[in-house]
């Protein structure tokens, strides 16, 4: 299933709290229903991004890890 990605945030290499800050900044520019991808290498993002998505009322559609890069798909609600 292909998702239409409206925005991709590259937070690779950046440490806590930057992935969450960049995600928060990025999602402000989306409209409800649009999908954003965040890529990060910070291990803390594995707990931080899902928690942030849940607590801000957005939807974590999927998350995956490959070669040390964590990828999160978030839908703005």
């Amino acid at each position: 299933m292909e998702l239409q990605v409206a925005k991709t945030i590259d937070a690779k290499g950046q440490k806590c709290p930057m992935p969450v800050l960049l995600a928060a900044r990025g999602i402000k520019e989306l409209s409800a229903g649009e999908v954003m991808v965040i890529e990060a290498t910070d291990g803390g993002s594995r707990s931080d991004i899902p928690a942030w998505a849940r607590d801000t009322g957005n939807e974590l559609v999927e998350s995956s890890s490959e070669n040390g890069v964590h990828r999160y798909v978030i839908r703005k609600t």
Partner: protein, 173 residues
């Protein structure tokens, strides 16, 4: 409940928009840094975040290019011995005449940890209220035009307390 209802924190959704107030009273690099991390992250969480800067905590809000602040000999001497600006803050321990902060910034830069000035920019972008304490500004001889762009109007302790009474999280860092 909140009659002020000031919309900070951008338009990130966050339930009923809870509030967090941090009192940044220390100019130490190792205190102002985590305060800025928590402040910006709170805003990313959709919270209404206010940081109240008081006493030494005001010095990091002074623009880095302002060499000396102060209204008279004493307050000028204070700034001379304790250079204001986020780029000139010292560590509370292992300062080693500036070697400590230099190493800390080098480590942060090597490991891609956001620097304090980047976090201040993030705070402003995400709508964190940066409130300078009016009384401390007078005490230390600081003028509003010497502070970085984007900080709020100087306020008093009562305004800070009013915000704190509405906040779920209050920290004194």
């Amino acid at each position: 409940m909140s009659e002020h209802g000031i919309a900070a924190g951008g338009d990130v959704r966050g339930g009923e928009n809870e509030s967090m107030t941090l009192v940044a009273w220390s100019g130490d690099l190792d205190k102002i840094w985590p305060a800025l991390i928590l402040g910006s992250t709170g805003a990313a969480y959709g919270m209404n975040v206010t940081i109240f800067f008081t006493f030494w905590g005001l010095f990091p809000l002074v623009r880095d290019d302002v060499r000396i602040t102060g209204a008279d000999a004493m307050t000028k001497a204070l700034a001379g011995m304790n250079r204001p600006g986020i780029g000139h803050m010292k560590l509370s321990k292992l300062n080693m005449a500036g070697m400590g902060p230099w190493m800390m910034r080098k480590l942060a830069s090597d490991q891609k940890v956001a620097q304090p000035h980047e976090l201040i920019e993030m705070c402003l972008e995400l709508g964190v209220n940066l409130w300078p304490c009016e009384m401390s500004m007078d005490l230390l001889g600081l003028r509003k035009d010497q502070l970085i762009e984007g900080v709020g109007e100087p306020v008093g302790a009562a305004t800070a307390l009013s915000e704190m009474s509405k906040s779920k999280i209050n920290l004194f860092i």
